[in-house]
């Protein structure tokens, strides 16, 4: 186990280093920050001066070393758009996004997992059909569209919840529902397949032959065996909720999270800020994945062999 932990930690560090390297070289190759920062009226001399000031006239490898050094001190550059250091800008938005992602994944587990498990227990039953249909639907509906629909229904038609913005728990309800839909659907599907697969294994028959009753069998044997799959899928979904889906939903609900920041940074061509967002979310994802892998390994020790 210790060996596995160390190995897994090492891999996480490798991933983060790779991410930093790719982000650096990619951002340097796609655009010229000097062009973005200076007004159109700037002279070539202005360009050259700023270039020297920013150290952009040095060779790329040297720049990379400087960049790594700054990074180690938490300096990830200054936002072109806001004119302030980027890291605090991103970190300030992080809690809102994390809250949204965590709540959505939690809701997805709470609803999707039981639906999938119930479906998988009796393949072909009406329970199973209901489970399959609902999970297919939830996967087919685009979340930002659902977000708009929810606002229309519950904020405009029925004035129960705020349309958008950030505040108490009532601000979270609609975005969380919109965001949890797809992960929930996928989780239900995966859980259904896993349970169905698990139920056909000989150890389930053997456990029944010991005299275990169905509920106990489910709780004590089957659920534990599908947990590894569930953990993996949840990790994957967390990643998606955080990076992909949230951009649409945060925009629709005007949620002050990293997703919306990314949209704003892109619209303002703020490459430094985008790079920072990419690295921060990348580190977060790498760490979350590592933790989930370790969790999976404690559930199933064969993983750490």
């Amino acid at each position: 186990m210790t060996r596995y932990l160390i190995g897994r930690l090492g891999r996480t560090i490798l991933v983060v280093l790779g991410l930093v390297t790719v982000t650096f070289f990619l951002s340097r190759s796609v655009s010229d920050p000097v062009q973005l920062m200076l007004p159109l009226s700037a002279t070539p001399e202005d360009h050259a001066r700023l270039r020297t000031e920013l150290g952009l006239d040095e060779p790329l490898p040297a720049q990379f070393v400087t960049y790594l050094g700054d990074l180690a001190q938490g300096d990830m550059g200054v936002s072109i758009w806001q004119g302030t250091p980027t890291l605090p800008l991103v970190l300030e938005r992080l809690p809102a996004s994390l809250k949204l992602a965590a709540a959505s994944v939690a809701l997805a587990i709470l609803v999707g997992l039981p639906i999938g498990v119930l479906g998988g227990m009796r393949p072909g039953s009406w329970m199973d059909k209901a489970s399959t249909i609902s999970s297919s639907l939830s996967l087919a509906v685009p979340d930002f569209w659902l977000g708009i629909l929810l606002i229309y229904l519950f904020s405009v038609q029925l004035p129960w919840l705020p349309t958008s913005g950030y505040g108490g728990i009532n601000f979270m309800v609609l975005p969380v529902i919109a965001l949890s839909l797809r992960p929930g659907g996928r989780l239900a599907r995966v859980a259904r397949e896993a349970v169905k697969n698990e139920m056909s294994k000989p150890y389930v028959v053997a456990a029944e032959a010991k005299g275990l009753r169905a509920t106990r069998l489910m709780m004590r044997h089957v659920i534990k065996n599908i947990l590894v799959v569930v953990v993996t899928v949840v990790g994957y979904d967390f990643l998606f909720v955080f990076t992909g889906y949230a951009i649409g939903v945060e925009t629709v609900f005007d949620w002050p999270g990293v997703g919306r920041l990314a949209v704003q940074a892109t619209l303002n061509q703020d490459l430094t800020l985008i790079s920072t967002i990419v690295i921060v979310t990348g580190v977060l994802i790498a760490v979350v994945n590592m933790l989930l892998d370790l969790l999976a390994a404690t559930i199933d020790r064969r993983i750490s062999l």
Partner: protein
């Protein structure tokens, strides 16, 4: 055996288990089965695939998988019918009144829970114990099933234990509720021979100590001969014969039973297997009348056989020997089929012509890579193996799983490169061959695999399957390839019309015939047969073994046979090589090997194998090996067998014995081979 005059623990009456088939058809997996089991009695249900033996066991346990149902009949446990009981009541009977042990112990244990917790769970379901009592009882149970180091085992997971240990843990769990009846569904089929022998002995001892009835479900007549008091023979969902062990084995009254017995190598020293024509019928395609009539030699197309299902009857009023055959009287009168003693596979005429020489062959696998988190290991799968195969000779590689048989065979085939050592074929070193030479060699050395399903491309017509090797050997004319393919099919007993069919249209035995035809097509000198009959039913197995022997005689072909079933090895081979942990520990002519194995491991293997002959099984003492197979990544120093050897001395732990000549044509790698020999003389009966 006296007939017990008490109430049966299990009484099954007219049991019928159905499965819905396609297009509204109904498949009868169990078709009106009745039998009783008395306290302490050991009864075996014997049948081939699809006979309904497992479904009978599951029906008794009330565990028929959805969507199957018990449509008729009763299952009485201690006089109480349990068919149709609500699931709550049924779960109180399972594990307490009766338990079951399955074939694959690793699969039957929850992979994520410790052995101890799984046995404990069963205990607590059926007994009112506090935590400490339960812990103590788990250890007690593990000791009773002969699990060494029980204190350590309770905390281990199934993947950390060997197959034999897991099966013992399963048995311990099955015993936890103190059942009066234990069902064992192929409990030793997934285990290596020496391990299986130990598990069977355990089951026998437990049944005697606890006066516990055991219902053994198996396809292996050898296992039955050494275990059961009474035998039920099942065919296509029906019990076709029932009687005591000796009645069924020595005075069988059903043509199917006779056919089955004559299909098994080693039954009464037969040199040619009889076999049963045709194939085991699929569910849903079971013939009308007597289900066996299309394959029956006795029926001779008599009307009664195809129109009326024979009654299950005894031939004399006070006998408990039952048979379901219209013409059972004729069998009883008919003497045992005459021994058609054919000339033993001769190698005299070609004794000196060497075909293959293997010299110091080794293969090391590096497991794990630098990127993976796993530990890197060097596994010596094959370690300095040398042997020869002469023309027209069958050489068998014998050993338990992980002994390196298959890796050796693959190197002979040139499919993997040896780490060191070389293979010489007809005097030419294989490693030195160029691309063209290697292609030609591949035509001379062919292979037949165990799993013919996986070995035949499902999207190729049989004509293409069989003639593909000819294409590789540059036989350009399509017409010629085709006519050769037709000839080959004829030789393996298939029809020319089969050329147009696809592999899925054939049964397992037929597919193996196709594999053999393909192997024969480039006219090889050597065929490597890797467990060629292991996946087949006994009656079909006999056909394939006969076919292989006929081909050998017609063509003076050599075989390198890999088989775990020693009765098959004995039936087929001229010479035997025993492998243990990647090394050859004994080489011996087959004729003397089985009477006098010299290496202790060979002796254990021979003593662990079963013959379908109750008398010799009764007369026999078995050597049950202690300990488990050491890991190849970390083989023991000195003689690799010393950790399990009852003869081991100090020298065995330090010095590795070389493979040295010991008598005519025999080589043994043991410091004390004579000692093993003497031991053999006293204690094991003829195989």
């Amino acid at each position: 055996m006296t007939i017990p005059q008490q109430q049966p623990v299990l009484s099954v009456k007219n049991l019928e288990t159905l499965f819905p088939g396609r297009r509204g058809r109904v498949l009868k997996a169990v078709d009106g089965v009745s039998f009783d089991i008395f306290p302490g009695e050991r009864v075996a249900i014997v049948g081939e695939s699809g006979s309904g033996k497992t479904m009978t066991a599951l029906s008794v346990m009330g565990l028929v998988p959805r969507p199957g149902t018990i449509s008729h009949g009763s299952v009485e446990i201690d006089g109480r019918n349990v068919v149709g009981l609500p699931s709550r009541a049924m779960s109180r009977i399972r594990g307490r009144e009766m338990s079951i042990v399955f074939q694959d112990p690793l699969g039957a244990l929850n992979p994520l829970r410790t052995i101890g917790s799984q046995i404990r769970e069963t205990l607590l379901l059926h007994h009112d114990l506090d935590s400490q009592q339960a812990d103590a009882r788990v250890l007690e149970l593990l000791d009773q099933v002969g699990m060494a180091d029980s204190e350590l085992r309770v905390r281990q997971y199934p993947h950390q234990l060997s197959g034999g240990m897991n099966q013992r843990a399963m048995i311990a769990s099955a015993l936890a509720g103190e059942p009066k009846l234990l069902l064992a569904d192929e409990p030793t089929t997934a285990l290596d021979a020496t391990t299986a022998a130990g598990v069977l002995e355990l089951l026998r001892d437990l049944s005697e100590q606890r006066n516990m009835a055991v219902l053994l479900i198996t396809h292996d007549l050898g296992v039955v001969a050494g275990f059961a008091d009474r035998v039920l023979i099942m065919y296509a969902g029906n019990i076709v014969e029932q009687g005591t062990l000796d009645e069924v084995f020595y005075a069988s009254q059903h043509p199917y039973t006779r056919g089955l017995l004559s299909s098994v190598p080693g039954y009464r020293g037969r040199t040619r297997l009889q076999g049963i024509p045709g194939n085991v019928p699929e569910l849903g395609k079971i013939p009308t009348g007597c289900p066996f009539h299309p394959r029956c030699t006795l029926s001779q197309e008599r009307e009664a056989c195809s129109s009326t299902k024979p009654e299950f009857r005894s031939l004399s009023p006070d006998s408990r020997h039952f048979t379901a055959c219209h013409f059972a009287e004729e069998i009883v009168e008919e003497p045992e089929a005459e021994e058609t003693d054919q000339a033993q596979q001769g190698l005299a005429e070609s004794e000196d012509s060497l075909l293959l020489r293997v010299n110091g062959l080794s293969k090391v696998f590096d497991v794990g890579s630098t990127i993976s988190v796993r530990r890197r290991q060097r596994i010596k799968a094959v370690d300095g193996v040398s042997f020869e195969i002469r023309r027209g000779e069958t050489v068998a590689l014998v050993g338990e799983s992980g002994s390196g048989k298959t890796t050796t065979a693959r190197m002979v085939l040139g499919l993997i490169q040896p780490t060191s050592g070389d293979v010489e074929f007809r005097g030419e070193r294989v490693a030195a061959l160029d691309k063209d030479g290697l292609r030609l060699l591949r035509g001379r050395v062919q292979v037949v695999f165990q799993n013919s399903d996986g070995a035949l491309d499902p999207r190729m017509r049989i004509a293409d399957v069989v003639s593909e090797p000819l294409l590789a050997q540059r036989v350009k004319s399509k017409a010629e390839r085709r006519s050769r393919a037709a000839d080959l099919l004829d030789q393996v007993g298939l029809k020319p019309a089969d050329l147009e069919k696809y592999p899925t249209q054939f049964s397992g035995g037929q597919k193996q015939r196709i594999s053999i035809a393909r192997a024969l097509s480039p006219e090889p000198d050597l065929i490597v047969c890797d467990e060629p009959v292991t996946a087949l039913d006994a009656s079909v197995q006999a056909q394939i073994l006969n076919l292989l022997n006929d081909i050998k005689q017609d063509r003076a072909i050599s075989y390198l046979l890999i088989a775990h079933d020693l009765s098959v090895v004995r039936h087929m081979s001229d010479r035997v090589l025993v492998m243990y942990l990647g090394k050859i520990v004994e080489e011996s002519p087959a004729a003397t090997f089985f009477e006098q194995p010299h290496h202790p491991y060979s002796l254990a293997l021979v003593s662990a194998s079963h013959t379908p002959d109750p008398e010799s099984e009764r007369a026999r003492d078995r050597i049950i090996l202690s300990g488990t197979l050491p890991s190849l990544a970390d083989p023991p120093p000195g003689c690799s067998f010393h950790t399990r050897c009852w003869k081991a001395q100090e020298i065995c732990r330090t010095d590795e014995p070389p493979l040295e000549p010991a008598g005519p044509d025999r080589r043994v790698a043991c410091h004390f081979p004579e000692a093993a020999h003497e031991f053999a003389g006293q204690s094991i009966g003829a195989l």
